[in-house]
């Protein structure tokens, strides 16, 4: 009987999975990787890409403390609250939602050569 109840409940979740696959997962496969990142990160992705193309080589990135949950209503919340400079999109986690506890203080820089696209990690 317990197995029967299990199957009935599991059937509902399988149906939801099929629906999600048809309406969301399969269409995502037709997107490029960049578009998939945008799907996750929204405008933040464009911002990082902009940073990566507009600044000169050997730019310094300093990660900044995250004092509180950001105010998403302000257009430049990520600049004020999150970090100074720019970062490698692929290297460092993108949206930082946790707040304090993960990045305590500026303490590390990422050297990014825009010509060679090489990254180096250096201490401050």
């Amino acid at each position: 009987m317990i197995f029967g109840i299990w199957c009935i409940l599991a059937f509902g979740s399988v149906m939801r999975q099929i629906q999600k696959t048809v309406t969301f997962l399969l269409p995502v496969y037709s997107l490029s990787l960049e578009e998939r990142h945008k799907l996750i990160d929204g405008d933040f992705y464009d911002f990082v890409k902009q940073c990566a193309t507009e600044v000169g080589p050997e730019e310094t990135v300093v990660f900044k403390a995250v004092p509180r949950e950001p105010d998403f209503r302000t257009p430049d919340w990520f600049l004020k609250e999150y970090f100074v400079g720019r970062l490698s999109y692929f290297l460092y986690p993108r949206k930082i939602l946790r707040g304090q506890g993960v990045i305590y203080k500026p303490g590390y820089i990422i050297i990014f050569d825009t010509d060679s696209k090489d990254l180096r990690l250096n201490y401050l």
Binding site: C7, I18, F24, F90, L91, Y92, V102, L121
Partner: protein, 459 residues
């Protein structure tokens, strides 16, 4: 092309794992092909992860040629040792018996297959999400650093305060790095797909463990329950390391269980090896090992398992410890302490009074959430009561004790963790989906032993 490289990466891991397995099994050992593939994958991931870690410590910069040449030499060595038997993969007599799949079995198989396909689709569709923090900011981040740096920047990992959890073992990040080297670039969806293979491997391995003792329909029913646990399905596609840990612990404990039943030393070696690798996956792997040692000790004291107890306990203690030793030395050298034990506990009784009811309440509330667990934990409670009243298999205490000790470890950590009550509450909420997940295969196997009397097959 990228997918082709990814397939090559997985194939190289499986072939290397197969070579490791052959060194253990020898040419005469007979296991079904599906079981061999799962074991080879697990062994292979363990091998390439440790290989990358050790090479990164002694040889930099890392490169695919280093990895492959090292693996090639190892495979040649294994092939020479196994001789003709290296390519022999014959099923055991008990498995050769003709299996007739009833419509019910076919239906169960179809649902299990769908779950695996769904997890693969979900994993490979999108990059890491910020909602799955550790997969992205800890495990995945480390793998990217190792790949970008072509090295293990030890000082960075140890000294950078923002580096999430420097004391976490690095086997899985290095395994992800290995895949990145094959791909030649960072590709988050494919890494998530790679991690979701552990889900499929766990389900398949669980099937073969059940199939050894029960009829096909029952084994598939057990697998269906495992494969459709909502929390497991959700976690399997996120690249959290809990599912790989589940795989290694499942393999480790269930092969040791098989040793206790069949007295074949091969299973003991295999099981302890997997426990050792599990210790390299997450810190909880260490507590699983401690729980296993305690459980084995109790089994040897309470029952007469008909084995050489001293030898059994020695293997259980020393083989995983030896495998884990390099990471212990690494941590000791760089003074990477575990944060749970860093402050004195003056008022332990107060902490227990304050924290234990809160933790238990949250766990029960979440455990009864059908959306997360279906009726898994309710089923466990029923099976447990039944077991205490009328045990079908007394040796199931072996599994039950591991679960009890592991649960005790979780709650001890909650009690002694030197953080405020509010932070602890947050941490419990963060872990309440993941920690019970690490126990599901052992709990489910225990349930199956208790309720599966009617479907048992003679060994």
């Amino acid at each position: 092309m990228l997918l082709f490289k990814f397939i090559l990466a997985v194939l190289s891991i499986v072939v290397t794992g197969y070579a490791v397995l052959k060194l253990f099994t020898g040419p005469k050992k007979e296991l079904p092909l599906g079981e061999i593939l799962c074991l080879s994958f697990g062994m292979g991931v363990g091998f390439v992860g440790l290989e990358a870690f050790l090479l990164a410590l002694f040889k930099q910069p890392l490169g695919l040629s280093y990895f492959l040449s090292f693996q090639f030499v190892f495979i040649i060595f294994a092939a020479l040792k196994a001789k003709k038997g290296f390519f022999c993969c014959c099923a055991a007599p008990w498995y050769k018996q003709r299996i007739s799949y009833s419509p019910l079995a076919v239906l169960l198989l179809a649902i299990i297959s769908w779950e695996i396909v769904y997890v693969f689709l979900k994993a490979s569709s999108l990059p890491f999400s910020a909602l799955n923090w550790d997969a992205w900011a800890s495990w995945g981040f480390k793998a990217k650093i190792f790949f970008q740096e072509r090295a293990f920047p030890v000082q960075f990992c140890v000294g950078f305060p923002g580096f999430a959890h420097p004391d976490y073992p690095v086997l899985m990040p290095f395994a992800e790095t290995y895949v990145y080297f094959f791909l030649g670039r960072i590709h988050e969806p494919l890494i998530k797909l790679f991690c979701s293979f552990f889900y499929a491997a766990t389900v398949i391995l669980f099937y073969y463990q059940l199939k050894r003792r029960f009829k096909v329909e029952f084994a598939l029913g057990g697998c269906l329950v495992l494969a459709t646990i909502p929390s497991l399905v959700n976690m399997a596609s996120t690249a959290y390391m809990d599912v790989p840990l589940v795989f290694y612990i499942t393999a480790g404990v269930l092969y040791i269980w098989r040793y206790l039943k069949e007295k074949d030393n091969f299973y003991l070696r295999l099981g302890t090896f997997f426990i050792g690798l599990g210790m390299w996956v997450k810190n909880e792997g260490f507590s699983f090992w401690a729980a296993l040692v305690l459980s084995c000790l109790f089994i040897c004291l309470l029952f007469k398992p008909g084995i050489n107890k001293k030898k059994f306990l020695s293997v259980i203690v020393f083989v995983p410890a030896l495998i884990y030793l390099p990471w212990v030395l690494f941590k000791a050298y760089f003074k990477l302490g575990v944060t749970y034990f860093q402050s004195p506990y003056w008022n332990l009784l107060d902490l227990v009074k304050q924290r234990l009811p809160m933790a238990v309440e949250i766990w029960i509330r979440y455990g009864l959430d059908i959306g997360r667990w279906n009726i898994f934990w309710i089923g466990f409670i029923i099976a447990l009561v039944w077991f205490l009243v009328r045990p079908r298999e007394k040796l199931a205490w072996f599994l039950l004790l591991i679960v009890i000790f592991q649960l005790a470890f979780y709650f001890i950590i909650y009690i002694i963790w030197p953080i405020s009550l509010a932070d602890l509450e947050l941490q419990i909420f963060n872990s309440v989906d993941r920690l019970p997940l690490q126990l599901v295969t052992l709990v489910l196997f225990f349930i199956c032993l208790q309720i599966g009397e009617k479907w048992k097959v003679s060994l």
